[in-house]
C-alpha cells in the first residue's frame, strides 16, 4: 500500500510538472499569456504586504533564525562517544542544509510514534501511519484551517461525483471510476486555486502541489473505504485521520520539542526508539476498548 502510494505520488508529480512545463512554454512562446504576478492590494494599514505565516517546510528568514541561533549558542563537547549527531548536524548546516529540514526529519519519527501510540493505547485508527504523518506536514505548509478546508472540498467533490454517477446510473469498472474521481477532484482544487485573486489570502496562493497531492491521496482512501465498507466508516476513519494529523501538527510546531530534538538528537532518537519498543510490547486494553466493552465490564 505504502509503495503504491509513493509510486502514485511520484508519477502524479512528474506528470503535473511536465504538463505545467509544456503548457507554459507553449503559451509563453505564443506570447498570449502574461504570468500573473501577485499584486499587492491596497490595505488601509501602513504595512504594504500581508506578512506570510511562518512555514517550516519553506526556507524563510523568520524560522531559520531562532533554530540556527540555538545551534550556535549550544556548547558541544567532543564528538565521540556522546555527540556524533550534534557534530554532524553542525557540519551539514554549515554546508548549507536548511535547519528546518533537519528539524522536520528529526521530528518525523516522533510523529510516527505518536500515531502508533494513538492506535495502540488510545484506539484511534485513521488511514495507516503514513497518511496522518504526511497530512501533518501538509498542515505545516498550508496551515491547519486551510488544509482542512482543502480536504473538505476534495472529499465533497469526490462524493458528489459518486452521487451523480449513481443518479445517472453510470456503471464503470473500479480503476476508471477512481481515475474519474481524481479528475473531478483536480477540477475542484483548481477551482479553489482560481479563487486566489478574488479572496487574496496568503495561505491560498501558497498552496504547494505536494500538499494537494497528499490531500488527494486521503480523498482516494476515503472513497475506497466508502465504496468497500460504508460512508459511516469512511467518515469515522477520516475524522480520526484528521485528529491524528492535527495532534501531530501540534507536536511538529511545538517549539520545546523542536529545540530538544535539535539540541539533543542522540538522546531524543534513543527515547523515541525505546518508546516504540514499549508500544509494540503493550498488550493491555486500548482506551476505546474500555468504552467498547463497557457493558461487559460494568454489567
Amino acid at each position: 500500500m505504502f509503495k503504491r502510494r509513493v509510486v502514485i505520488v511520484v508519477v502524479f508529480s512528474l506528470a503535473t510538472f511536465l504538463s505545467f512545463f509544456i503548457s507554459s512554454t507553449v503559451l509563453l512562446a505564443q506570447g498570449n499569456i502574461s504570468i500573473p504576478s501577485p499584486t499587492p492590494t491596497e490595505l488601509p494599514s501602513p504595512s504594504p504586504e500581508p506578512t506570510p505565516r511562518p512555514d517550516l517546510t519553506q526556507i524563510t528568514e523568520e524560522t531559520v533564525g531562532p533554530l540556527e541561533k540555538l545551534l550556535r549558542e549550544q556548547v558541544v563537547g567532543p564528538a565521540w562517544p556522546l555527540n556524533p549527531i550534534k557534530h554532524a548536524i553542525r557540519g551539514s548546516v554549515d554546508a548549507g542544509v536548511p535547519t528546518n529540514t533537519i528539524v522536520l526529519l528529526l521530528l518525523l519519527p516522533f510523529v510516527a510514534m505518536i500515531i502508533a501510540a494513538a492506535r495502540h493505547v488510545v484506539g484511534l485508527r485513521g488511514f495507516g501511519i503514513f497518511l496522518p504523518a504526511a497530512l501533518s506536514v501538509v498542515f505545516l505548509s498550508t496551515g491547519p484551517i486551510m488544509g482542512i478546508l482543502l480536504f473538505l472540498v476534495i472529499v465533497t467533490f469526490s462524493t458528489l461525483m459518486r452521487i451523480m454517477m449513481r443518479r445517472a446510473s453510470i456503471k464503470l469498472q473500479y480503476l476508471p471510476r477512481m481515475a474519474l474521481m481524481l479528475w473531478f477532484v483536480v477540477l475542484g482544487v483548481l477551482g479553489i486555486l482560481f479563487l486566489a485573486p478574488v479572496v487574496n489570502r496568503p495561505e491560498l496562493s501558497n498552496v504547494s502541489i505536494f500538499s494537494v497531492l497528499i490531500l488527494v491521496l486521503l480523498a482516494e482512501d476515503f472513497s475506497k473505504v466508502q465504496l468497500g465498507k460504508s460512508a459511516k466508516v469512511a467518515v469515522n476513519l477520516t475524522t480520526e485521520t484528521l485528529i491524528l494529523a492535527l495532534v501531530s501538527y501540534a507536536f511538529l510546531t511545538f517549539e520545546g520539542l523542536q529545540n530538544y530534538a535539535l539540541l539533543n538528537p542522540e538522546s531524543y532518537l534513543l527515547l523515541v526508539a525505546f518508546a516504540n519498543y514499549l508500544l509494540g510490547k503493550y498488550v493491555g486494553l486500548r482506551l476505546a476498548e474500555y468504552w467498547r466493552f463497557r457493558k461487559l465490564i460494568t454489567s
Binding site: M1, H120, G123, K171, Q173, Y174, L175, K224, L227, G228, K229, K281, Y282, V283, G284, L285, R286, E289, Y290, R292, F293, K295, L296, I297, T298, S299
Partner: protein, 444 residues
Amino acid sequence: MVKTSSVLGLNARAGLFSYKYNPFVGKKIATSKLKTKKILREAGIPVPDIYAQFKTVRKLNKFDWKKLPSSFALKPNKGLGGEGIIVIKKKTKDGTGWVTTKRTNVTPEDLALHIMDIFEGAFSMRNSPDMAFIEEFVGRHKIFRKFAFRGTPDIRIIVFNKVPVMAMLRLPTKESGGRANLHQGAIAVGIDIVTGITTKAYWKGDYIRHKPGTKRKLHGIKIPNWTKMLEMAVRCQEATGLGYMGADIVLHPERGPMVLELNYLPGLQIQIANAAGLKKRLERVEDLIVHDAEHGVKIAKALFAARFSDRVKAKEGIKTIKAFETIRIRARDKKKVSVGAKIDTGAWRTSISQKLADELGLMEKENILWTKKVKSSLGSEERRVISLTFWLAGRKITTPASVAKRLTLKFPVIIGRKNLKGMLIDPSVSVEEKLEAEEKIKQI
C-alpha cells in the same frame, strides 16, 4: 461483571495469541476461502459446494449464467467482514435475472460487473487483486426460521489449542440486510459451551431479550448437533494448523453443520454476547496438552459452563445440604454409583480418590483433562484432573476434579467450593448422622 484483566483487547489478540500461534501457512489458507474449502474437504469436514470459480476476465465472459441454479451466493475469495457478497434467492419471474436476499433485482451484467470489482480488489485487504466464486446457497435450518431475518444465521466458534473456548450465534436482521455480520447490524447471541443453549443477546450496543420488533425470546434456543459442531471446529484447527482461530459454521437444513470460513483474527464482540472475558479462558487452556477434538471438547465442557446454569439453580431455590452427603457419580459405562462425599468449603476444586476413579473407569486417557504439578509439604507430585459428572441434592454437576492418591481418605470424594454455588451447608453433624454416613459407605 467481568474483570478488565480477563477481557481480550485488539493488542492482546494480536500480540499474545494470533501472532504467536498462527503460522504463515495457516493464515494464508484462512485468507483464501477457496483454499480453506479445499483443505477442509480433504480433511473430511463438510463445506458448501462450489458452482463456479472466476480467476480471469476471459473465463467470466465465457461463463454461461443459465447453468446456475435459482439460488446461490457470489463471494470474493478474500473478502473481509462479509463485504462484497451477493446472495441470490430466486430467479425473477421473466427468468432473465435474479432476486437477492435484499429484495433487489440483478441481471447477469450486474453480477459480471461486480465480479470485475472483485478482480480489482475492491473488497480484499489492501485492495490486492482477487478471485470470485459462486457457492451453494445454504438455507435456514427450521430452528432459526423464527429468529433470523431472511439470511442464514451462522455460528462462530473460537478454538484455541484444540479447545473450543467461546461460541456465539449470529442472527441476520433487517438492518444487516440479511447478512450475519455484526458490523452490519446482525444480533450476537452467546452460547453455553456445555449445552449449546443460547444465553444472552447483544445488539447495537445493548443487551436485548427478544428479537427486535417481536416477542420471540432469543435466549434458550437449543442449537442442534452441538457437540458435533464443536468437534468440527477443532478439526478445522487441526487441518489448517492455526493455533488460534474462529470457525464460522452454518447449519444446512438437510446436510447438517458445515464450515463456511475460518478467521485467524476472530472478532472480540463474542465476549460481550457471552458476558465473559476471552483472555481468561485462553490463558486457562494455553498450556494444556490436548490429544484430539473429542478431548478438547471435553475440556471445554468441564471448564466453560455458562453462568446461566447458576441462574437455573437459583430459580430452584437454595438447597440445604449436610456436611456429609451421598452423591451419585456417573461411571464410564453411564451407570450411576452412590458414594459418600464430604463437603469441604476449605477446598476450591472437588477431588476424588484414585482408587474410586479407577474402579469407575474414569481414569481412561480420554477422560483425563490435564495433569498438573502440585507442590505440597511432601514435595511436588503430579496430580491428574479428570472430568467428573455427579448428582448432589438433585442437581447434576459436571466439573473438573483432581485425583488424590491419599489412601486415608475416609470419604472418597471431597466437594469443593467451586461446585457449591446456590447451596447452604448445615455444619451441625450429630454422631449418629456421621455413623450413618460411614455405614452407608461401608455398604457401598
